[in-house]
């Protein structure tokens, strides 16, 4: 390969922040495991990421030292737990550049976060005095895309069924990009909310959202971005994205399961009716009626996942310590390497962008006509963990004419040697099913 020098004065490759992958790997106890007699090769981080010692320690420490319920105790432990819980909220707000900590609502996961928005619309639609931005009825439209995870399809289908609104969607191009050619016809004065995936969990596509965001502003609709696959991998700035809501989940970003985030513009959250009723979300309760707390408490009924939230705060500290820009660049290099390496496997078809531009480190493919289940099973016998199936994005599988795909996905701890192990494993698959 010839190397081309970048002229001086231009950004150089060495300007990009980097980190020592071997040192990062040492933080993740599970990466030392053997699987079926082979070293673990974990290529399923889009499904869930592993957790570093720093996060596991905080989880353990919380239960061992600071365990108490939050927001209701005057005792010392209760105060410590509350401070840790609210401290985590502040860390997460800073991580996504939220203008206010109160804009971060803790949820169970991204799915719950999207459902909270959808049900707030639903509840508002039943009340004539509710804010008109959330009121839906026949003639109103909700816009999603063909690229969504089921969690960003089904809640809107159900909402449209309940309210009589119409669901519309952006198509996907043959290259696996969002087809924005119909933007003006799709997003109109009838549109109430556009809910789009930021980075596809199956195609790896990073959607350029600025044109869509501008159109959403023009027509006076709201914009929700499903950032489940972007917040863990790229620097995210909610102000820069010009979104109204973003959702993401802790377990894909080195945090525990059971904790996710709904971020919403403060003024919008304040205007939204509650969804779950119960403890912590009220202002006052009488036998006849109740009034409700301000956000974020309004949307956090009941005892929240306290330890999980605190540990997510630790995950954010961990990622920030390494640097999101460095993580992004690491994955970009891995993606370029993997696209090249997979391109050398005979009979392999990649779904989604085949260049490492505008895409993340999630690559789905077909190997000849071997079913993904069989691909995954043979790879597993070699210690290589990939996801197989429809990836909770059946419309994407249909779009590309297959019932299922095999997916390899990378994270900050992934190495090029692991991609080599995948490629060698695929050779083994071909031998078994030849």
């Amino acid at each position: 390969m010839t190397s081309i020098a970048i002229p001086s004065g231009m950004p150089q490759y060495d300007d990009v922040p980097r980190f020592d992958v071997a040192r990062v790997r040492a933080d993740f106890p599970i990466l030392g495991r053997d699987i079926n007699g082979h070293p673990l090769v974990y290529l399923d981080s889009a499904n869930t990421s592993h957790k570093p010692r720093q996060v596991l320690d905080v989880l353990d420490e919380h239960y061992a030292r600071h365990n108490a319920n939050v927001s209701r105790s005057v005792h010392t432990l209760g105060t410590e737990a509350t401070e840790a819980y609210e401290g985590a909220r502040a860390k997460i707000a800073a991580f996504i550049n939220a203008p206010s900590t109160d804009e971060v609502v803790f949820t169970k996961n991204s799915t719950e976060a999207i459902n909270i928005v959808a049900y707030a619309f639903s509840n508002a639609s039943l009340r004539p005095d509710a804010d008109s931005r959330f009121r839906l009825g026949p003639g109103d439209e909700v816009v999603i895309s063909e690229m969504e995870h089921h969690s960003n399809i089904v809640p809107w289908q159900l909402l449209c069924e309940r309210t009589g609104a119409t669901l519309r969607w952006f198509p996907v191009t043959d290259q696996g990009r969002l087809d924005e050619s119909g933007l003006e016809d799709l997003v109109t004065e009838r549109t109430k909310i556009v809910s789009l995936v930021h980075v596809s969990n199956i195609l790896g596509t990073v959607n350029a959202t600025s044109r869509i965001a501008a159109r959403v502003r023009e027509v006076g609709a709201l914009l929700l971005l499903d950032c489940s696959q972007s917040v863990p991998h790229l620097p995210i700035d909610v102000v820069d994205l010009d979104a109204d809501y973003i959702v993401f989940t802790g377990h894909k970003m080195c945090g525990p399961t059971g904790i996710g985030v709904l971020w919403g513009r403060g003024e919008l959250l304040a205007a939204m009716p509650p969804v779950f009723g119960g403890g912590s979300m009220i202002e006052t309760v009488t036998m006849a009626r109740s009034t409700f707390a301000a956000p974020p408490a309004r949307f956090e009924a009941g005892t929240p996942p306290i330890a999980e939230a605190v540990a997510l705060g630790a995950a954010v500290d961990y990622l920030t310590g390494i640097g999101m820009q460095a993580i992004q660049w690491h994955e970009k290099e891995l993606t370029a390497y993997a696209l090249d390496a997979l391109g050398s496997v005979p009979d392999l078809r990649i779904f989604g962008p085949t260049v490492p531009v505008g895409r993340g480190g999630t690559i789905s493919f077909a190997l000849g006509d071997v079913h993904p289940h069989d691909v995954g099973q043979v790879l597993d016998s070699l210690g290589v963990q990939v996801r197989v199936g429809h990836h909770c994005a059946k419309p994407v599988c249909s779009r590309f004419g297959v019932p299922a795909m095999t997916r390899a996905s990378f994270y900050l701890y992934t190495t090029t040697e692991e991609i080599d192990a995948l490629v060698a494993g695929l050779e083994q698959v071909r031998k078994v099913f030849d």
């Binding site: 289940h373 069989d374 099973q377 043979v378 429809h390 019932p403």
Partner: protein, 157 residues
């Protein structure tokens, strides 16, 4: 785990050269014909099984589907084992296969009853794949019931 326990030659043979694949009409116009379509929602595997019977003998079991080697080979074995059998006998085989697959690898299969079905003994050790192997057998049970022939005990895959 040994991969060749899962992918036995017999299974790969049935996958690569399936027996009796394709949905067929009944030869005897007096037969009851019914079918069932089953889907594995976790992976998208699909199979349609059609049964043609006079109420005592399963004259034909035809099928079509798409999916992994285990589910498709299992349909081929099902066809081979049960086609032309009496309904009562067929359900004994069905029961034996379900028992084998639910046995977590602890059940020793009887080759006299299960024929090529014994090759699936290894699949029972892979909980994630048991559903693949059972998919055509569950569809068969529904199709047979719709065609008016017996029912074997309920099983949870």
């Amino acid at each position: 785990m040994q991969l060749d326990q899962l992918y036995q030659e017999i299974i790969l043979d049935h996958y690569k050269r399936p027996h009796g694949r394709g949905l067929r009409d009944a030869d005897d116009p007096g037969d009851q014909v019914a079918e069932a379509h089953h889907v594995n929602p976790t992976c998208g595997d699909e199979v349609t099984v059609r049964v043609a019977t006079d109420g005592t003998v399963l004259h034909d079991i035809s099928y079509d589907g798409m999916g992994c080697s285990i589910s498709q080979a299992s349909a081929s074995v099902l066809h081979e084992l049960l086609r032309g059998r009496g309904a009562g006998e067929a359900f004994e085989v069905h029961e034996a296969f379900v028992e084998l697959m639910s046995g977590r690898g602890q059940v020793t299969p009887d080759e006299d009853v299960l024929g090529d079905g014994v090759a699936f003994a290894g699949v029972a050790r892979y909980p994630a794949r048991v559903k693949c192997a059972l998919l055509p057998w569950m569809a068969f049970k529904d199709a047979a019931a719709r065609a008016g022939v017996g029912v074997s005990p309920e099983v949870k895959a």
